[in-house]
């Protein structure tokens, strides 16, 4: 089972950069082994940011939490 803490720990690795840039990535919900996140601030409305972060964050989550399944961008 994945926990909020474990997902947050992974997100915390990119957070300092995003926060320094006036944005953030917010963990909205957990459902089984998948998580829903939302971009806020600067890059929230940018389709490129959604793509780059979606791929990278999902990869990082799968790397660090083997049972992690899918990431949903909300």
């Amino acid at each position: 089972m994945i926990t909020r803490e474990r997902v947050e720990a992974v997100l915390n690795k990119v957070r300092p950069f995003m926060q320094a840039d006036g944005g953030d990535i917010e963990l909205v919900d957990l459902e089984g082994n998948s998580a829903g996140v939302r971009l806020t601030g600067m890059c929230a409305g940018c389709p490129s940011a959604h793509m780059t972060l979606y791929l990278g964050v999902e990869n990082a989550l799968r790397e660090e939490i083997p049972e992690f399944e899918t990431l949903r961008l909300l």
Partner: protein
């Protein structure tokens, strides 16, 4: 065969690092020589750019520059690629075909990935370098070639010689004028210059001016290790130029894998752990480990503006453990100056 883009000593991005300046000074010195050059450097450090530059600043610049990667071909194909073949030399050889050496006549041949040339082929290459003649596959005619050889290697050939993987005689033939290109992580001071250069190039290609770049992006570029060197940095800049939508370059334009790895590398300067002693003098492992620990704790406290709970989170340890470790490392009286973000990444105060 490639047609090199016009390059000159003045147009190329040198950067401010002493190591790259030394490389370029050396290239100036050897510009008019005809001797063989061995360019060594990790993938993406600019071996082909260097070879092109050597050609363009030599007397041979009006003759061909032929670049060939020795890693691209199988053992049997390399010979035919480099030296050519006569009609009927092997199945499928339906006409005479000159090799790369002949195509480079009067100019320069760049033999990249020389470290991937199989031992059996090394003998043949040695003969060419010694005699300056080639024989096409299946041919009997000996053809003289007037070609300057620049070889590129991502591995240390001397080491390969020691391991019996590279012929010593060929190594000495190639290593007349050695040029060593440093990896990007060893010349971080050049990162901003290279970044500006490539962003300028790729935004110009889109017909746009380079937009403002956020500090977070600059910091991430500075902190990432760039295992793919300048090529990887160029690729990251191209991506930014192609995906930017809002007129300012933010971290959202960057590859998240770069952000993750840059975030995992907290210290810019080499830590005591990185400095391995050269001599057999005794060191105290415990003292060394404490130095590393103290450095990382200092970093965590700095980027979390002195907030110990946040610092503990960054270090993935308990808040109470952090307190113990701070005392043990003698950081109890550590003063964390507000607003001093220095070399490390810091989130802006709320």
């Amino acid at each position: 065969m490639t047609t090199p883009a016009p390059l000159s000593m003045d147009s190329i991005v040198v950067g401010r690092s002493a190591r790259m300046r030394a490389v370029f000074e050396f290239l100036r010195v050897i510009g008019n020589s005809d001797s063989t050059v061995l360019v060594t450097g990790e993938s993406g450090t600019g071996k082909e750019v260097t070879a092109t530059l050597i050609h363009q600043s030599s007397r041979r610049k009006h003759h061909p520059f032929v670049a060939v990667s020795c890693a691209l071909f199988s053992e049997t194909l390399i010979e035919s690629e480099l030296f050519g073949h006569e009609r009927g030399a092997f199945t499928g050889a339906i006409k005479d075909r000159p090799g790369r050496f002949e195509l480079a006549e009067g100019g320069t041949i760049f033999l990249d990935d020389i470290d991937d040339v199989p031992l059996s082929m090394q003998v043949k290459l040695l003969r060419v370098l010694q005699n300056r003649t080639i024989e096409r596959l299946g041919g009997t005619r000996t053809v003289p070639v007037n070609v300057r050889v620049v070889a590129g290697s991502k591995r240390d050939l001397k080491q390969m010689v020691a391991e019996g993987k590279f012929r010593e005689d060929l190594y000495y033939r190639l290593n007349v004028l050695p040029v060593a290109l440093p990896p990007l992580r060893e010349r971080r001071e050049d990162i901003p210059v290279l970044m500006d250069h490539f962003l300028e190039r790729y935004f110009r290609r889109r017909g746009e001016d380079v937009p403002a770049i956020s500090d977070a992006v600059k910091q991430a570029f500075m902190r990432y290790a760039w295992p793919g060197n300048v090529r990887e940095l160029e690729n990251a800049c191209e991506r930014i130029a192609q995906t930017n939508t809002c007129g300012t370059v933010h971290v959202g334009c960057m590859s998240a894998s770069i952000l993750f790895r840059a975030g995992a590398r907290p210290l810019d300067v080499s830590t005591p752990a990185a400095s391995v002693p050269q001599e057999a003098a005794p060191i105290s492992l415990d003292d060394r480990l404490r130095d590393v620990e103290a450095n990382l704790i200092r970093w965590a406290l700095k980027v979390s503006n002195g907030n110990k709970s946040r610092a503990a989170e960054l270090l993935q340890i308990k808040r109470s453990t952090l307190g113990d470790r701070i005392n043990r490392c003698g950081l109890g009286a550590l003063h964390v100056p507000a607003g001093d973000s220095g070399e490390v990444m810091a989130a802006p105060p709320p």
